[in-house]
Structures are given as structure tokens and as C-alpha cells.
């Protein structure tokens, strides 16, 4: 039972952390341009200067 007292809060805390991360990423606009994200990986970042 003592194990549970530690493990359950940890599990819940990790779940809440995930939920908070999801909310943050949504607010940050990370899901606004899903197709663009797929293409951006192909852009050459090097400066042409």
C-alpha cells in the first residue's frame, strides 16, 4: 500500500504534465500548420550570404 501512495501520485502527475504540455503546444500554435511542418524539414537553413 505504501508503494501505491507514491506511485499513484507519480502516475497522475505525469499525466497532468502531459496534459499541460498538450495545452501549451496548442496555445503555441504548433498544430496550426501541420503540412508546413512536414515541409519545413526540407528547407536549407544555411545563410546564402
Amino acid at each position: 500500500m505504501t508503494g501505491l501512495a507514491i506511485l499513484i501520485p507519480i502516475a497522475l502527475g505525469m499525466g497532468l504534465l502531459g496534459l499541460a504540455a498538450f495545452f501549451w503546444s496548442m496555445k503555441d500554435g504548433q498544430y496550426d500548420d501541420m503540412d508546413g511542418a512536414a515541409h519545413r524539414i526540407l528547407i536549407d537553413e544555411e545563410d546564402e550570404a
Binding site: 499525466g15 496548442m26 501541420m34 528547407i43 536549407d44
Partner: protein
């Protein structure tokens, strides 16, 4: 290096959003984001590839025109975004996504506890786990269930029922019973089922909303701007801009070349040619002089004219069409979607079953607690989880497949109606044909081509633009022309290397569109044609395979319509007014047919709104694109046939999904009625049925491939 940045930072920057439909690859994103900030006054540019938009942070002194020009220099056509186009859809999607996140969190944590209970936890541990589950599940259900509860409440208030009514009843009863079990220390709590049900259903809703915002962003990117004001001439000769709704009959307005008329009126002074394509679908420009009647929506092509207004605002021919569209669109709002039709049959059956189970076990003497548990188990197991996913999953996959082929479907209801169409009506100009005159320049030598381009590129006349486009495609460099003059109704004249050159109206009037190129005394005739879309015949053949007969319903003159009809082997009705088109569709509907209307002009608007389903090309007028269920992009007509084919396949998959749900219920309901359904059985059954439905829907991903 730092100095200019510091100077710019002192002034607050403005942000402007432009739609850039031509953004097609990573290179385009890179080019826009790298090159734009190099221009003076532009601080940053950020492209949104999905919405085909670019947000530019810039010096407020820089206007939209300058930004559009900057993008055009990079090779992208751009248009400012209308303010309200993002609107409610993305808000709804965000609410659903947030609810989905919360439901997902709740589901995982409650499931974690439930698995321990199923593995044999009992006594105080089980009680603790049930309490913990309740603590997690209650707020989660209250938050994530809102979209369903609100919709169910609305339906009940209007004495109707929809899919959300059985869902809400199931979820609320399951939660209530589980809470009772938890408080009394009972063995079975269904918190996991209730939360999982919400999670799966929210996934369906979120997919549905995602599809709508994605395609609407695409259509918003296509919408251009219309002239909504006019230059009114005061008695003292000065002019001022007046918004269209503030115009009065009797006002004198000056319409510059290239400007759209904002009200109906009569030409008082000046001669010009008007492009009436928006109103009549007629491709040839109409010459007008003093005394001619002109209509709002027409575009003045060649020279400024003065117009005395006769009918304004709500009285114009344009407003009349808008009113017809509004009324015609009413019938569509009565359409009942397949999921709601299914639930009308489904909900009473399920609720009766649950009642019978309760009554049966009471009569058998099981006691009210056991009877109620079994009745609720029946509700949970039959709760339309797979059904809630069956329709949106299939429709989202199908609309994604169509999107890749250049067809934007506005929503799921559009796909359902497209699948039911049994007869198709096509407009001619701009729908079966490309809608723009293409010049035949094969008869010109290189010198003549250069001169023709030098002349044509300076004019806004549709024939000049068609000629210039054809020559530019052929890689012609324009010759330098001096002393250029455009005489309305007559043509363009100029001087090239000391020789007088001109593009003129041909001497003899003929049915075909043509212009005469004169260099010195040598004359050559250039003919224009509005060619059929290359795959028009193939498209009609595919439609015929699907059992859809097509015919032409055009506002154009009889001769060109007959020519197209003959070329494609269709029956045709020409010179149809917007009212006549609408009447034709109403007549078809009265016969019990379900017409598909494909058209682009504003004159097709009422017909598009009245048809069972409608499709417009991306070059169509704004109003037509708004009225249509789907918009196709590009020069091919094939997306129209594909839309019907994919829509029908989608409905087949949806019916398969429904069939599967019914089969699953036939197996599961007897178990529930016998009281054999534990929370474990309910959880497994629910996930398996949902996964099967989603997997079946994914088969549509390749449905739009040839």
C-alpha cells in the same frame, strides 16, 4: 548592421495576413521567409502552409499593395485576407481539441486504475481505486462531455432527437451508477467506459471539425475582392468615394477602367466595353455607350464612363440574385445527415431494450439494483461509439483524398449529398470551358508576336489579356511601343520603330472572337476561342458510368452553347436567366430527382444554392464559391466526377461501418441483457469496435487515385 533594426524597433510593427495560393513546396516557404525580410520595412514573414497564408510583420507605412507587389516579385500571387474568414470554425476546433486532450488524460489514468481492479484488487484497495477514478472521471466528464450535453439539450428542447441524446443519456447514467457503486463499496464501476466513450466520440468530432476548417481555409484563399464602393461626382465636378450601401438613385458616378460597378444605372457619357461575365456568363465583352443600361457587378474594361444610377443597394439585379440564392439555400438546411437519420431509428430501439431489460429482471425478481445495473450495461454497450466514429472517420479520409486531387469539399453533409445525386447540370462558360479567351497565335511571325505583346500587355481588355498570356507562354519578348493609345470600342494604337501599329476590331463582324493586328498597312487576324477543359469528355464519361446523365444549362447565346453541346454529345438549354435556372432545378427536384449543379457565374448562384449538391470551379465568383458545396482548382474538370465517385465510395464505407456496428450490437446486446457484461467486457468491446471502424475508413485514402 544593427542600426536599421534598432530604428525599426522604435515604431510598433503592423501584421498583415495575405493568402498565397501558389505556395506548393518547401522551396516556396523558404523563399518567402528568407527573401521578404530582406526588403526595407519588412521585419519578418511567417508562412502557414496548410492555410496557404503568409503573416508579415512590417512597418505600418507599408500598405497591402506594396506587400502584394513584393510577393509578386518573388513569383507568388497574393491577396489580402478578409478579416472574418478565420472565425468560429477554428474556435470550435480548438474547444474540441482541448476536450479531446482532457478526455485522453482521464481515459489513460482511469484505465490504469481499472486494470488493477480487473486484475483482482479488492477490499480497501478496490474502494480506494474507485474513489480515485471518480475523482478523475467526474471533472473530466463534466468538461469533455459538454459538446455532447449541449447539443443533446438543444435537440431535446426542440423536441427532436439526434446522435447526442443516446450518448448523453448513456454517459450520464453510467457515471451516476458508478458513483453509486463507489459510495456503497460495490464491485463494478464504469468510469473507464464513460470516459473512453467520450474520448472516441470526441476524436470523431475533432476529425469532422478539422476537415471543415482545412477546406474552408482553402476556399478562403481563393476568394478575391469585389468593388464595394463608387466615385460619386458632385455637381461642382469633384468626386468622392461612397460605399455601395450609401449610394442613392440619381447620383452620377464615374467608373474608371478596370473598376466594378456598384449599382445599376444608365450610361450618360463615354463609350466602353463591359465584362458582364459575373451576371450573364457571357464571355464576350459588351460594348456600351450613352443610354445603355448597365448592372452592378459588371466590370468596366476600356475607358472611363459616367453613369447615372437608377437602382441601388437592395434593388440591383445583383441583390436580386443574392436574394434568390438565400431563399434557394433554405431547403438545404432541412437536410438530415445520415448519422442523425440512423440515430432516429437507433435511439428508440436502444432505450426500449434497456427498459425491457430493467423490467424483465425486476419481474424475474433480481432486485432493483441488479436490474438497474443490467439496464445501464445495455445502454453502455449499445452506446453508439463505433457509430459516432463511423461517419466522420470515413468522411475525413475521403475529403483528404479529394483535397490532394484538387477538390475542396466544405463539410461532411456535402459528401453525403454528392453521393445521392442522379443528374448533373453544367454551366458552359468557365465550367465546361476554361472561361477565358485563348488566342491562336500560330499564324504570326516572331516580329508580329513581339509587337502584339507590346500592345496587348498594356490593356485590361479580356482579349488583350488572353493574347498577352498566350504570347508570354510562348516566350515572346515584348517590342517597345511608343505613343500608346487605347480607344474604347476600337482598339489599341501605337508606334513601333516609326511604323504605326494597332490591335483593332476586325473589319467584318463575325461570330467568333477576333482582333486584327495592323503593322503599317499589313493586317493579320488573330482569332480567340474559349476552349473546352481538356478532360471534359472524359469527366462526362465517368459520370455516365456512375449513372449520372449530364446536360448543359447556360446563360450564354444559343449558337455557342449548341456547339459545345454537340462536341460533348449533351442536351442543352441556352439563354437561361438565373430565375430560369432556378426554376429548372426546382422542377427536377419536384420530379424526385437529385440534381448536381456545376457552375461558376453569379447567374448560377441561385441554382447552385438550390441544387441537391453543387460544385464550383476555383475561378468562380465569390458568391458562387460560397453557395457551392465543393470547389475544384485547376484546369481539369475531372475532380467533379471524382467527387461523385469518392462520395459514393464513402457512403458505401459508412454503411459498412454501420453494418459492423449493428453486427457488434447483435453479439453484445444478448450478453448485456443476460447481465454478463462487466466493465472489462465493455471496455474491450468498445475499443475493438472503434478500431475496426477506423481501419475500415482508412481504406478510402486511396479512393481518389485513378
Amino acid at each position: 548592421m544593427n542600426a536599421p533594426v534598432a530604428v525599426e524597433a522604435e515604431r510598433p510593427l503592423a501584421t498583415t495576413r495575405l493568402t498565397v495560393p501558389g505556395m506548393k513546396c518547401a522551396g516556396c516557404i523558404g523563399k518567402i521567409e528568407r527573401e521578404l525580410p530582406k526588403l526595407p520595412g519588412i521585419a519578418a514573414a511567417r508562412a502557414n502552409f496548410s492555410a496557404k497564408r503568409v503573416a508579415i510583420r512590417h512597418d505600418p507605412a507599408l500598405g497591402e499593395d506594396a506587400l502584394t507587389a513584393a510577393l509578386l516579385n518573388l513569383g507568388f500571387e497574393a491577396q489580402p485576407v478578409a478579416d472574418n474568414s478565420l472565425g468560429d470554425d477554428s474556435k470550435e476546433r480548438k474547444t474540441l481539441n482541448r476536450a479531446l486532450g482532457v478526455a485522453g488524460f482521464g481515459m489513460m489514468n482511469v484505465m490504469l486504475l481499472s486494470v488493477s481492479v480487473w486484475s483482482g484488487a479488492d477490499g480497501a484497495t478496490r474502494e480506494l481505486f474507485h474513489w480515485l477514478s471518480a475523482l478523475i472521471a467526474l471533472p473530466v466528464i463534466a468538461y469533455a462531455g459538454r459538446p455532447f450535453f449541449a447539443s443533446a439539450w438543444m435537440a431535446l428542447k426542440h423536441r427532436r432527437t439526434n446522435m447526442d441524446v443516446p450518448i448523453s443519456i448513456g454517459v450520464l447514467l453510467a457515471t451516476g451508477l458508478s458513483l453509486y457503486e463507489t459510495i456503497t463499496g460495490g464491485a463494478h464501476a464504469f468510469f473507464d467506459s464513460a470516459v473512453m466513450l467520450l474520448f472516441f466520440l470526441l476524436a470523431g468530432r475533432a476529425l469532422d471539425a478539422e476537415m471543415r476548417t482545412r477546406t474552408r481555409a482553402g476556399i478562403g484563399a481563393l476568394l478575391g475582392r469585389m468593388g464595394k464602393s463608387a466615385s460619386v461626382i458632385a455637381p461642382d465636378g469633384s468626386t468622392r468615394r461612397v460605399a455601395a450601401r450609401d449610394l442613392d438613385p440619381g447620383m452620377m458616378v464615374l467608373v474608371a477602367a478596370g473598376e466594378a460597378l456598384a449599382a445599376d444605372g444608365e450610361v450618360v457619357e463615354g463609350t466602353s466595353a463591359l465584362d458582364n461575365a459575373m451576371l450573364t456568363g457571357e464571355s464576350a465583352p459588351e460594348p456600351v455607350g450613352p443610354g445603355a443600361v448597365v448592372h452592378a457587378g459588371a466590370i468596366n474594361l476600356s475607358a472611363p464612363i459616367r453613369v447615372r444610377l437608377t437602382r441601388v443597394a437592395e434593388d440591383t439585379a445583383l441583390a436580386e440574385i443574392a436574394r434568390l440564392m438565400d431563399e434557394a439555400g433554405q431547403s438545404r438546411s432541412h437536410y438530415v445527415r445520415i448519422a442523425d437519420r440512423a440515430s432516429r431509428l437507433y435511439a428508440p430501439v436502444v432505450h426500449t431494450l434497456a427498459l425491457i431489460a430493467f423490467a424483465g429482471w425486476m419481474i424475474a425478481g433480481a432486485g432493483w439494483h441488479t436490474s438497474l445495473t443490467i439496464a445501464i450495461a445495455v445502454l453502455i454497450i449499445t452506446c453508439p461509439c463505433a457509430m459516432g466514429l463511423a461517419v466522420p472517420a470515413a468522411q475525413v479520409v475521403a475529403s483528404g483524398a479529394l483535397l490532394r486531387r484538387g477538390l475542396l469539399v466544405k463539410d461532411g453533409s456535402a459528401l453525403e449529398r454528392l453521393a445521392e445525386c442522379d443528374v448533373a447540370l453544367f454551366d458552359k462558360t468557365g465550367t465546361l470551358t476554361l472561361g477565358e479567351p485563348r488566342a491562336d497565335v500560330s499564324g504570326l511571325d516572331p516580329e508580329a508576336r513581339a509587337v502584339a505583346l507590346g500592345l496587348a500587355q498594356t490593356s485590361r481588355h479580356p482579349l488583350s489579356r488572353g493574347l498577352a498570356a498566350a504570347l508570354l507562354r510562348g516566350g515572346v519578348t515584348p517590342a517597345a511601343i511608343d505613343d500608346l493609345r487605347e480607344v474604347s470600342g476600337a482598339g489599341l494604337t501605337g508606334r513601333w520603330q516609326g511604323v504605326e501599329v494597332a490591335l483593332e476590331r476586325p473589319a467584318e463582324a463575325s461570330a467568333a472572337l477576333a482582333t486584327t493586328l495592323r503593322i503599317g498597312d499589313a493586317r493579320q487576324t488573330i482569332t480567340f476561342a474559349d476552349p473546352l477543359r481538356a478532360d471534359a469528355a472524359a469527366t462526362l464519361a465517368v459520370l455516365a458510368q456512375e449513372g449520372i446523365a449530364a446536360s448543359i444549362l447556360s446563360g450564354d447565346r444559343a449558337a455557342p452553347v449548341a456547339a459545345v453541346a454537340q462536341a460533348l454529345g449533351l442536351t442543352a438549354q441556352a439563354e437561361a436567366s438565373p430565375q430560369a435556372k432556378l426554376a429548372m432545378l426546382e422542377a427536377l427536384k419536384a420530379q424526385g430527382r437529385r440534381p448536381l449543379m456545376v457552375g461558376d457565374g453569379l447567374n448560377d448562384g441561385p441554382a447552385l444554392a438550390a441544387a441537391h449538391a453543387s460544385i464550383a470551379p476555383g475561378t468562380a465568383s465569390d458568391a458562387s464559391q460560397q453557395a457551392a458545396d465543393a470547389v475544384f482548382i485547376g484546369e481539369g474538370l475531372m475532380p467533379v466526377a471524382l467527387a461523385v465517385r469518392v462520395a459514393r465510395r464513402t457512403m458505401r464505407i459508412v454503411r459498412e461501418n454501420f453494418g459492423f456496428s449493428i453486427l457488434y450490437n447483435l453479439l453484445a446486446v444478448p450478453l448485456a441483457l443476460l447481465g454478463l457484461v462487466t466493465p472489462l467486457v465493455a471496455a474491450v468491446a468498445m475499443s475493438v469496435s472503434s478500431l475496426v471502424v477506423v481501419a475500415n475508413s482508412l481504406r478510402l485514402a486511396r479512393s481518389a487515385n485513378p
